[in-house]
Symmetry: C2
């Protein structure tokens, strides 16, 4: 196995984002168990310590709960997940607009660009 990573960003950050996305889009539901650190490490082809760090940071963000000896689970707190979805959406949009404006593109150019590319990618 071994998924692909962007060599310019820390793997643990990419994994945090990946898992958060899976939860936000409903691929992983509240209370669902994540793979064990060893299992997930093998699956994505990284070291156990890296996964351990990912789970630890996700717990700080209150996105997962760790039960020692049992595993790591998506939080049961549905409110938290609703907020997370909104936070991630807003952050992504904010960053996109900032980057595009930094390059001198107008809001209209952004909207058009998304409509043109979006029809194929959807």
């Amino acid at each position: 196995m071994g998924l692909e990573f962007d060599a310019n960003k820390p793997i643990y950050l990419q994994l945090i984002h990946r898992i958060s996305s899976e939860i936000v889009r409903g691929d992983k539901r509240e209370g669902e168990k994540l793979p064990s650190v060893r299992e997930y490490a093998v699956e994505v082809g990284v070291n156990t310590n890296t996964i351990s760090r990912v789970y630890r940071e996700l717990e700080l963000l209150q996105i997962v709960t760790t039960k020692r000896g049992q595993g790591t689970f998506v939080t049961e707190d549905v409110n938290r997940l609703t907020r997370l979805r909104e936070e991630m959406k807003q952050e992504q949009i904010k960053q996109f607009i900032m980057d595009m404006q930094e390059m001198g593109f107008s809001i209209n150019e952004m909207l058009e660009g998304i409509m043109n590319n979006g029809s194929e990618g959807q």
Copy 2:
């Protein structure tokens, strides 16, 4: 001085993006001289070698031309700059759509999100 950097991405990549943006939005014109490596290093508070690396990579991308003994200049090739603008725009949009779809958002949610946030930020 010392501008701010995102601690999670290499400084040299952030600078490449920053300079490219300045060129694409017309803040730096074709043929315009960039600051010398030493000057720019002091300005942004990093090491000379880091700026040297930035200029070297920008030259590989054919965005700037280096004239040894004289300095580093934005390319005179206007076609290249036009292409660059389009490339950066498309890349940004593609990445945005991918990230948003990964989180389960629809094209309509993207468009609405941008229209709502854009009015303030514009």
